[in-house]
Symmetry: C2
Subunit: 341 residues, 2 copies
């Protein structure tokens, strides 16, 4: 990649901000409700002013039924229902609520992988882990997501911020944000599920505002300089030690590891403390970065902590395509898909 | 009350330690399971040694069904099902699971208010609020509970500790700990529900061990000196501001109040921050001590924060009654109840 080259990318005309994909992660729930209220006021005002809106922002409550019950989900985890197979396979009358809801959302925001899909999905999440603000995406070379991340880092210097990469193919990607042409989960913690903390809510609100600002700057032709981003690529999960008979957990995260998300975990560092007081150590051979340490929702998924490798990624300068470039690309793609046929 | 007088109280022969009365408050769940395991080992060892146990300790999992599902409760809050009316009224076939379970527990640990009830119930709870370790009881003159509290304070100087008093009559008292002759909830936080944190688990374990130690010291004749205890008596609850139509909350606890449990709240101090960013202030006329600030389970109960008045209570020296004194008291009570009839 040439450092001086400016990569030209299509305009981001339609953005979706989603909350309540997990019904007990309350910052996103209350933020989406608040943004809907504000949008209504702005729309009423706009009608008087007759200004045009520079970008269409769709606010969506992911799992309204689970939100109503303040539970993560009703039948199954909605945020695992957006694989190609789950969205396109046969659907029985007895399908879990979330399997139906994921298709509704795919119809509103997608279809996933199609030209009709929204340009960017920002899906709001909370974690009980001490992770600060993280963008979680399936790509380590989606310049849009990486540039938004850098913008947030600059605009919100007071909150620890990381970019997490789950190395999963587009087809196998399972979360709501995978429905957009670009997408990420904005994950903020620590906040107990079922609780809203002002500081976490406010950080999320700023994160969303700066994301939308970046999209507007981008669409209006701003050139964003290239640079470097630290990317944490998920390598593996570690489960809790469990009782061989009951499968109940037999230990908690060690007090020396608790709340130390993204602090390097080295071989032989304390990992767990059993309920009888014994220390269990990390037996891996490679030092890795722990995250999602003691996340509430992952007990049932068999994840006590996730581990990542850190890598510095160079990102190019970007700007929006001119209308002419866009037409040209559309034509080329047209020819390409005709050729494919 | 004469300061020099030593109050003589009946022996505490039977103690119950309960966890999982709320199925997602995990420190108590894992602690009771661990104590049951340890007890089994001790029992096996004791059978060899043929030692006698100085006090009978009953370990009980309060709500096993809710615990299995990692939920606070299945149908209704078990820890509100121990009023005289709930335990003794008619019970339909359609009764909530917890209304049936409360009677089972009353049969094991009570009957509430009877001479057969266990001498002390220590019921283990967690809160998402930053409350440290609290004993919560219905009496501000139960010398057993207050002496145990002082003992814990001395033995665990590193954890903030308070004694909370709910001024409710024995008959109206609603929680599991009210089934014992003496009883308290041991409430520890902050810990998200559905999560176990090593530091909180370890504090609870120490709290229980020191409680049982105190009971053994007491039973073996130790005289505990009198002194003073700060008692926080609950005065009132404050609900979240709510949307008049939807009843959804319209604000979160203000960041300047969040995590400041037991720090005096004065008139005009910030209380809430609305989701649009406005500060709402405390409009009460009396400075009071906030606690259960932003407790997860209280959103549905309409409690954003509870407020208490602090008072210094003088507690007398206590010792266990001699066998002679105990017989004498039993005789007197026998006459008394005959006279009542």
């Amino acid at each position: 990649m040439e450092v001086d080259k400016v990569v030209c990318l299509p305009r981001l005309s339609r953005v979706a901000v989603c909350g309540g994909t997990h019904g007990n992660e309350l910052s996103g729930v209350y933020l989406v409700r608040e943004l809907l209220k504000e949008e209504k006021k702005v729309r009423e005002k706009k009608e008087e002013d007759e200004q045009e809106q520079p970008v269409s922002v769709l606010m969506v409550l992911g799992n309204p039924w689970a939100t109503q019950q303040c539970r993560r989900f009703v039948n199954t985890d909605l945020n695992r229902c957006f694989t190609h197979a789950a969205l396109n396979g046969p659907l029985s009358d007895m399908a879990p609520y979330e399997m139906i809801r994921s298709r509704e959302l795919n119809a509103i925001l997608g279809p996933k992988g199609s030209p009709e899909a929204v340009d960017l999905v920002c899906d709001l999440h909370n974690t009980t882990a001490n992770m600060g603000l993280c963008l979680i995406a399936y790509s380590d070379c989606d310049w849009i997501c990486l540039h938004i991340f850098r913008h947030l880092q600059r605009k919100m210097p007071d909150i620890p911020m990381r970019y997490i990469h789950f190395d999963v193919s587009k087809k196998e990607s399972y979360s709501l944000d995978s429905v957009g042409k670009h997408g990420f989960a904005m994950e903020i913690g620590p906040q107990p599920h079922g609780v809203v903390r002002s500081n976490i809510y406010t950080a999320m609100k700023s994160g969303v505002q700066h994301t939308l600002d970046w999209v507007r700057f981008f669409n209006s032709g701003t050139i964003f300089e290239g640079g470097f981003v630290d990317v944490f690529t998920m390598v593996k999960h570690i489960d809790y030690p469990r009782d061989s008979e009951t499968r109940n957990i037999a230990a908690a995260i060690h007090p020396q590891l608790q709340d130390r998300d993204f602090c390097l975990l080295r071989p032989e560092d304390p990992l767990f403390q059993t309920f009888s007081g014994e220390t269990l150590r990390y037996k891996g051979k490679e030092p890795l970065y722990p995250f999602f340490i003691n996340e509430c929702a992952y007990y049932e998924k068999g994840i006590a902590v996730s581990l990542a490798r850190k890598r510095r990624v160079m990102i190019p300068a970007v700007r929006v395509q001119t209308e002419q470039e866009q037409e040209q690309q559309a034509n080329e793609q047209g020819f390409a898909s005709e050729e494919e046929e």
